[in-house]
C-alpha cells in the first residue's frame, strides 16, 4: 500500500450564508499535494483560492467534503488537536505580516515555540538562528515597527519556520511588498522548498507562479487548471 499523500482534498465545498444570500466559495474541489511540493494557487480575486488555503491550513472548515492530512481525516479532530497541527505541522505567512508590535522580532519568532512548550532560553536561541537565516542577524531586539515591510515579512517567515513545519502556507506574501523585496521573499520560499518543506502559496503574483513547481488555478470556486511547471525546476540551480 502506497503511503497516503500529505494533503488529500476530496469534493470540498465551502458555502457562506449571509441572510438570504447563499454564496458558494468552493465547489467540489479535489486535489492531492505531495510532500516537498512547491504549489502556487492562483486565480482572480474571489475565486476561492484563499478559502482553499485556509481550509488546508486548518484555519477554516469545509462545509462538506473530506480533507485528509497525512492520511487522517481533519474534520474528526478537536480544537486542541487542530491547534497542535497548526503549531507543529504548519507555518503561516500572511500578506499583512501580523507581527505583534509590543514584542521584539526575536520574541515574535519565538511565539510558536511558546505554544509548543519550548523553554525560554532554547526558543530565543532558535529564534535568533532563524532570524540569522533570513538575514536579520543585526536586528534581534528591534520591534517590528522599526523595520521595513520586506524585513517584517522575513520576520514572519522566520516565525512560520519556528517549529520546523512540514508545510509552509503563504497567503499573498508579496502583496504588500515592492517588486525587488517580493522577489527576495519568493526566492526564500524556493530555498526552503529545496530543503524539503512543502510550500503552498496563494498569490496572483505571476513571479510566484513562475518559481513554483506546480500551479493550480481557481476560477469561481473550481479548479480550472493544475499543471506541473517544468521550467521552475531549475530554480534550485539558480539559487546561489
Amino acid at each position: 500500500m502506497a503511503a497516503a499523500p500529505l494533503i488529500q482534498i476530496q469534493d470540498v465545498s465551502k458555502i457562506y450564508v449571509t441572510g438570504q444570500v447563499r454564496y458558494e466559495v468552493l465547489k467540489q474541489v479535489s486535489i492531492e499535494i505531495g510532500s516537498a511540493e512547491y504549489v502556487a494557487i492562483t486565480g482572480a480575486s474571489g475565486s476561492g483560492k484563499s478559502t482553499l488555503l485556509h481550509i488546508i491550513g486548518c484555519l477554516d472548515t469545509p462545509t462538506s467534503g473530506s480533507y485528509r492530512l497525512q492520511g487522517e481525516e481533519v474534520s474528526r479532530k478537536d480544537d486542541v488537536e487542530l491547534a497542535r497541527i497548526r503549531n507543529r505541522t504548519f507555518g503561516f505567512v500572511f500578506q499583512s505580516f501580523n507581527l505583534l508590535g509590543r514584542y521584539t522580532i526575536t520574541e515574535n519568532v519565538a511565539l510558536p515555540m511558546v505554544y509548543r512548550g519550548v523553554a525560554r532560553r532554547a526558543r530565543t536561541e532558535k529564534a535568533k538562528a532563524l532570524l540569522t537565516r533570513v538575514g536579520l542577524n543585526s536586528f534581534f531586539s528591534h520591534r517590528p515597527s522599526e523595520l521595513s515591510g520586506g524585513m517584517q515579512q522575513r520576520v514572519a517567515i522566520a516565525r512560520a519556520l519556528a517549529n520546523d513545519p512540514a508545510i509552509l502556507f503563504a497567503d499573498e506574501p508579496t502583496g504588500n511588498l515592492d517588486t525587488k523585496t517580493g522577489l527576495d521573499i519568493i526566492r526564500l520560499f524556493g530555498e526552503l522548498n529545496v530543503e524539503g518543506t512543502t510550500v503552498l502559496v496563494v498569490s496572483h503574483d505571476l513571479r510566484v507562479a513562475q518559481h513554483a513547481g506546480r500551479v493550480i488555478t481557481l476560477e469561481d470556486g473550481r479548479i480550472i487548471d493544475d499543471r506541473r511547471n517544468a521550467a521552475a525546476e531549475p530554480a534550485k540551480a539558480r539559487t546561489p
Binding site: 485556509h54 480544537d79 491547534a83 497548526r86 503549531n87 503561516f92 509590543r102 511558546v114 505554544y115
Partner: protein, 401 residues
C-alpha cells in the same frame, strides 16, 4: 504551556498599556480599600464597646425592677410591680452565695450648689461596695464608708468635672455643697475616668443610698448591681437571685436580670450587623470595579482581535486564549487587590495614629475576604471577555481591521 508563560503573556499585555491597566485597577483598588477601611471601623467599634463594657467591672449582673421579656439593655419599671429595696439586697447578701458582692443604686438628677455656683448632675445613691464592684475609685479623700451608710451621714463623693466646675482650684474636701435642699459634706474626689457608654463618669456625685432615697423621696432602688464570684457561676447566681426575690415578691418574677455578657453580646451582634452592612456597601464598589475590568477586557479583546487570530494560527488552542485573558483580568484584580489592601490598611492605620479616639481595628479576615473577593471578581468578570476571545474564528480574526 506552563502557568508562568500565561502570566508572562498577561503581564506583557498589561504593561503595554500602563495607564489603562492602572485606571482599570483603580476601581478594584478603591473597592478593596473601602471594604477594609469600613470593616476596620466596624470592628474598631466592636472592640471599643467590648472594652467599655468590660471596664465597668467583671461578672456583673444588674437587677432592675419590672419584668422585661427580652434580654438586653432593659427597660424602666412598669407600674404595679414590687420595688426593689435595700431589704431585697440584704436578703440576697445572705442567701445568694454565688454573689461576691452587691451594691444598691438610686439614680436621680439634681442641682448641686457650692456658694453661688450650681451644676445639674446625676446623683448616684449607693454604698461602700460600689467602688470595687463598679471598678471606679476615689483619688483624693475616701469613698462612702460603711459607717457613713449606717449613720445616715450626709456625705458626698464628687467627680472630677463637678469638682472643677464648682470649686475650680480650691480643694473641696471638708466643704459642704447643697444637693437639692440638703447639705452634704464632701469626703472624696473620684479619679478621672472620662465617658463610659455615654455617661460622663466625672460628672457624677455619689451619696449614701438611703440618704438618696430620703432626699429624692423614693422608697425603691433604681437597680441592684451584683458581682458573681466567677463567670462559671453566673447561671447559678441568676437562679439564686430568682429564688430569693420571688419569695420576697409574692412568688412573682417582677424584676429583670441583665448580665454583662448579655449586654456585650447584644452590643456585639448589633455592631456585627453594622460591620456587615458597611462591608456590603463597600463591596458594591468592588463589584463596580469588576465591571470596569470586564469592560476593559472586552475592549482589549476587540483591539487584539488580529493578535488572537494570529495566536490561533500559530498554535494557540481556544483553551490557551481563554486562560490568557482570564489571567490578564485576574492579574488586574489581584494587583488592584494588593494595592487596595495597602491603601485601605494604610488609611485605617493613619486614622488610628492621627485620631486615637476613632476606633479602628484592621482585621486579618477583612483583608483576606476583600482580597479573595477581588480575585474572584477578576475571574468572574474576565471569563466572559475571555470566552469571547477564545471563540473567535481565526480567519475572521486575522481579517479584522
Amino acid at each position: 504551556m506552563s502557568p508562568l508563560e500565561y502570566l508572562r503573556i498577561a503581564l506583557e499585555a498589561l504593561a503595554s498599556n500602563k495607564i489603562r491597566s492602572f485606571l482599570t485597577m483603580l476601581g478594584v483598588i478603591i473597592g478593596v480599600a473601602s471594604v477594609i477601611m469600613l470593616v476596620s471601623i466596624g470592628e474598631g467599634a466592636k472592640t471599643y464597646i467590648r472594652s467599655e463594657l468590660m471596664g465597668i467591672g467583671s461578672n456583673l449582673l444588674i437587677i432592675t425592677p419590672g419584668k422585661t421579656e427580652t434580654s438586653g439593655m432593659g427597660h424602666p419599671p412598669s407600674g404595679g410591680v414590687h420595688k426593689l429595696t435595700i431589704e431585697d439586697m440584704r436578703a440576697l447578701e445572705k442567701r445568694a452565695p454565688a454573689l461576691a458582692g452587691l451594691t444598691p443604686m438610686v439614680v436621680a438628677g439634681a442641682p448641686v450648689k457650692f456658694g453661688n455656683r450650681s451644676r445639674d448632675v446625676l446623683i448616684i445613691g449607693t454604698d461602700e461596695q460600689f467602688e470595687d464592684i463598679r471598678n471606679l475609685h476615689v483619688e483624693i479623700g475616701s469613698f462612702l464608708g460603711k459607717g457613713d451608710i449606717e449613720a445616715h451621714r450626709k456625705v458626698a463623693v464628687i467627680g472630677r468635672t463637678v469638682k472643677k466646675e464648682l470649686f475650680q482650684e480650691t480643694s473641696p474636701l471638708g466643704h459642704t455643697v447643697k444637693i437639692g435642699e440638703t447639705t452634704f459634706r464632701i469626703i472624696g474626689i473620684m479619679e478621672k475616668k472620662g465617658t463610659t457608654l455615654g455617661v460622663d463618669i466625672d460628672d457624677l456625685v455619689f451619696i449614701p443610698a438611703d440618704t438618696a432615697q430620703d432626699i429624692f423621696d423614693q422608697d425603691g432602688l433604681t437597680q441592684i448591681l451584683a458581682q458573681v464570684v466567677n463567670e462559671n457561676e453566673i447561671e447559678r447566681a441568676k437562679d439564686q437571685i430568682r429564688q430569693v426575690l420571688m419569695r420576697r415578691h409574692a412568688g412573682e418574677e417582677d424584676f429583670t436580670m441583665i448580665t454583662q455578657q448579655a449586654m456585650l453580646s447584644t452590643a456585639q451582634s448589633i455592631l456585627s450587623t453594622f460591620t456587615y452592612v458597611l462591608g456590603g456597601i463597600a463591596s458594591i464598589s468592588l463589584l463596580v470595579g469588576g465591571i470596569g475590568i470586564m469592560n476593559i477586557m472586552l475592549v482589549s479583546v476587540r483591539e487584539r482581535t488580529r493578535e488572537i487570530g494570529l495566536r490561533k494560527a500559530i498554535g494557540a488552542a481556544q483553551r490557551d486564549i481563554l486562560i490568557q485573558f482570564v489571567i490578564e483580568a485576574t492579574t488586574l484584580s489581584m494587583i488592584g487587590g494588593i494595592v487596595g489592601i495597602l491603601l485601605g490598611a494604610g488609611i485605617a492605620y493613619s486614622a488610628k495614629v492621627a485620631f486615637p479616639v476613632v476606633p479602628v481595628d484592621i482585621t486579618g479576615w477583612s483583608i483576606a475576604t476583600a482580597f479573595t473577593f477581588a480575585v474572584l471578581v477578576g475571574v468572574f468578570f474576565g471569563i466572559y471577555p475571555a470566552t469571547k476571545a477564545a471563540r473567535l474564528n481565526p480567519i475572521d480574526a486575522l481579517r479584522y481591521e
